[in-house]
Symmetry: C2
Subunit: 391 residues, 2 copies
Amino acid sequence: MGKTANLDIREREEKYINIQPIQAAGRLTADAMKAIIAYGDGYSTCDLCLKPFRLDFIKKPPIADFYTELAEFVNMDVARVMPGARRAFQAVALALLRRGDIALISSLGHYTLALAIEEAGAEWREIPKNEDNILTAEATAEKIERVKRENGKLPKLIAMHHFDYQYGNEHEIREIIKIGHEYGIPVLYNGAYTIGVMEVDGKKLGADFLVGSGHKSMASPAPTGVLAMDEEWAKVVLRTTDARGDITGRKFGIKEVHLLGCTVMGAPLLGMMASFPHVRERVKHWGEEVKKSNYFIKEMLKIEGTKCLSEYPRRHTLTRVFTGGFDKVAKTHKKGGFFLTKELSKRRITGPFPGATKEWKLNTYGLTWEQVRYTANAFKEIAEAYGLRVE
Amino acid sequence: MGKTANLDIREREEKYINIQPIQAAGRLTADAMKAIIAYGDGYSTCDLCLKPFRLDFIKKPPIADFYTELAEFVNMDVARVMPGARRAFQAVALALLRRGDIALISSLGHYTLALAIEEAGAEWREIPKNEDNILTAEATAEKIERVKRENGKLPKLIAMHHFDYQYGNEHEIREIIKIGHEYGIPVLYNGAYTIGVMEVDGKKLGADFLVGSGHKSMASPAPTGVLAMDEEWAKVVLRTTDARGDITGRKFGIKEVHLLGCTVMGAPLLGMMASFPHVRERVKHWGEEVKKSNYFIKEMLKIEGTKCLSEYPRRHTLTRVFTGGFDKVAKTHKKGGFFLTKELSKRRITGPFPGATKEWKLNTYGLTWEQVRYTANAFKEIAEAYGLRVE
């Protein structure tokens, strides 16, 4: 037997308070854990796949209902589960973009958007952020004009996060969507850090496409994501095939080309479905999560040399901090930055990038008030132990 | 809470002998079950994702080792885990095909290949099967010539199954690969029904690409698949991006464009890894699986009106049968074809398409001899109970 048989048990969530920036809102609910045990087999979802033989028509387990409820949840006409948000970006890019087209992304945008655009044969350009690391409607309009001037054509798509992954800042998403529409450019709302943690209303936003991440923000296994849109765009992005075999004459008329037919079966889908009632409930309590986030950052800022690099007060639970005090300690400590990792680990806290003491990200999503207080105190305790000033 | 909270426990594998055609070789091993429990969270694989920040470089859990061993297992230079075989088809199609190109698939080929080709803007044409439902090198050469004649250009890609999903017949894969190469056309070996159940040697086959399905034939959760190739093709299909942000100057140089970066994280990947030592072992016992398949079909053929529509003797465990006797019974039974479903169910056998009594598929993969005998006897018993002749 090869090395790969030796898999250690992962105990991060059982033994530690985990403030890892992208794991917090993705950790499974107990119901999702139960679901993946019962539906571990890949085709477990397909026992009763009857005519017309497509995942989203399956009634038992209630996948068809789930798809409907998912669309309602984000207030869009149609929703599909995708193998990750990136596969949703890809479907939209391949449906809308042609070779030589230009698409706009944020200068804080995720690399998977850039790859999806590149793979479709198109080019991506960045919309600049302002000095506060915010993407504005003004900057978007300027960039559209610039592309028009320099390339003699308008961008074909704008993809914009509501909250970005680097700072967790809130951007002018509604206004950016409006600007896009003034130019007749469809806008993809990237909700990887919103859908599943806060209420998102696609119609109210006016977005053409909503994309969410299951394993980032919907307490779902990987790889899962959501792609939602209105009926009109569904005709384009969810178009079915009308190709026909030249020999057999067969066609696969029900299959959605840009989804490659069925997308996510088995454990990841059922895990997502099992978490969904909890997700639907938890988005109502986003305000409380933001309160905890602000409390935590406020406490961190009491430590000598700490700055909040994200907008402050916080509107999200994902935050980028600068911890100059800890960095000063790391410079002379024989373990370097790993002294902090180790001190946190001793206190059963994990998540910050191993060895990082300068700029790093954290996420308090889903922690209880007791855990938030404990964690903030732990940082202050470590600071004091190493001679840093704590207010 | 919505309806989707009510998920019944799936007990198919616990309570039944399952001869469902596409589920047999995908059902999880006990080790895979354990792994998905420990690694349920989406980012469970990413705790120690260090520079250069790509899934296949992660050492703990031993993903890097697994990728290496996977390539060795199919004897190719490079292997990648994909979110399903279809996503592997898509990556190859998008890398190799341009608008207006033509690609050849089998007239018994899977719809996902057709969609992947269509999505790349290319067109698919079918290679005809012969009267025995076999794809031959001769038919392939004729089709290539025909495309050349009618379209003034050669196909850009040939995708061919070793064993097809409709009959489980063995096709002239080695010879077809040779023919492709004589014309300078790359050949994708579709091993959805071979990789993970029998020994597959990519170099010996001479294939340009190997594609396998995790949830079909590798005892892995969905969505998982394998894409393997040699170093030369890796430069094309696994090319990294050299695009750069026009504002930020950032690039994502390590990310593979056609894979959209990281592919499958969390439970599906770890489940696949946990099953892998078992898979590597079980391929050595394919001969025994084929023996059981032949025994089972031989017994079925004793029932009045039964024909084996697949090649016979069997070289695979997936078989298409015609059960004219049962169909005769169904015609007058008040439950129609469901009489057979119900009779099997009473005997704790499941898998044949519900209500089907005419043409249907089954798969004996992974059953013990005792289970095979029990299942064959059950069919004969039912036949006798309904007055059919049994030899």
